[in-house]
């Protein structure tokens, strides 16, 4: 299991990219942190969630 924003999800093995797309996040306006480390955008397609990972996903908006 993977903890995403505090909620357990059965997404171990799924890449950051595929998860974000499935959860309707805009890949350009999001920051992803796995176990406290920021995942660079260039790693989204290669990096998969591991069992026990703690993930934080934060969305950004640009209005002012």
């Amino acid at each position: 299991m993977v903890k995403i924003n505090g909620t357990e999800a059965d997404v171990a093995g799924i890449t950051v990219h595929d998860y974000l797309v499935s959860a309707n996040y805009n890949l350009q306006r999001v920051a992803v942190e796995i176990n406290g480390d920021i995942v660079p955008k260039s790693d989204y397609s290669a990096r998969a969630f591991g069992d026990g990972d703690s993930v934080e996903i934060v969305g950004f908006v640009g209005g002012g």
Binding site: E56, V58, V61, G62, G63, G64
Partner: protein, 265 residues
């Protein structure tokens, strides 16, 4: 402090974390607000009420009727006037003790470094990711603390950058979204009261930074979704070591050379 200042700022001074010394720090502080719209209006109102000594206002837009639903410092009497001029008259009416400096020009890769150099703290109250990243990069390069915020529809986010105390905006976003700003307030809408919340978060961060009170939003992001009240603070324990501007080996060292990213054609 003069007697009238002690009276005016009595509720600030009563705060144990501020006191008279905190108020003195505010009175001698220089704060720059970039963007005098919804975020900027709310933060300018509270910063001037709190007694920030010098407030800079940078914007090049004029006040339009469709701004007034959320940009609370402007009124119908200033339609067509520059937002900087309108902001200055609002501030003078609220607190003539504040010295207002207006910068009625577009913030660019060429002028941002000399602009921010005159101030202790910067508030990014702009409405485009390109300019937000320009302000971020300029503040990282200049070692200048700043408050970031963005707002759309019923929500937004805020974080504070202080050199050496956590991630910058580029650590988190990587860069300006490739598809530009996507949905903006024009098409997606924004509730004025929610923009006000984020703007007052920025003013709060400025006051905290200046007075040393409390814990800033450094190394963490405040996210607010007011539609169903999901409010959270996400810790960002460390910056991205490979960040293009604040990392160990930055590739963005000249704002001018990176201008195409800030202002895509």
């Amino acid at each position: 402090m003069r007697a009238d200042q002690i009276e005016r700022y009595a509720r600030n001074i009563a705060l144990a974390e501020l006191g008279e010394s905190g108020q003195e720090k505010l009175l001698s502080a220089r704060v720059l607000v970039i963007g005098a719209g919804a975020l900027g209006g709310a933060s300018l109102a509270y910063l001037s009420a709190a007694g920030a000594g010098v407030i800079g206002v940078a914007d090049f837009d004029k006040v339009e009727l469709s701004n007034l639903q959320r940009q609370i410092i402007h009124g119908v009497d200033v339609l067509g006037e520059y937002k900087t001029v309108s902001a200055a008259s609002f501030i003078r009416r609220l607190n003539p003790g504040v010295e207002v400096h207006i910068h009625t020009e577009k913030v660019t890769a060429d002028n941002i470094l000399p602009l921010i150099a005159d101030y202790d703290f910067v508030l990014d109250c702009t409405d485009r990711f390109g300019v937000k990243l320009l302000i971020n990069d300029a503040c990282v390069i200049a070692g200048k603390p700043f408050s970031h915020a963005g707002v759309l529809r019923f929500g937004g986010q805020a974080m504070t950058y202080v050199p050496g105390r956590g991630a910058c905006l580029r650590c988190l976003l990587g860069g300006v979204p490739a598809d530009g700003d996507g949905k903006t307030a024009v098409s997606a809408g924004v509730l004025g009261a929610v923009a006000g919340m984020l703007g007052t978060v920025q003013a709060t961060e400025a006051v905290k930074y200046i007075t040393g009170a409390g814990k800033l939003l450094t190394g963490r992001i405040l996210s607010i979704n007011a539609l169903d009240w999901k409010v959270c603070v996400t810790d960002i324990p460390s910056p991205d070591p490979d960040c293009a501007v604040c990392g160990a080996h930055p590739t963005i060292t000249s704002l001018k050379e990176n201008e195409g990213e800030y202002f895509p054609r």
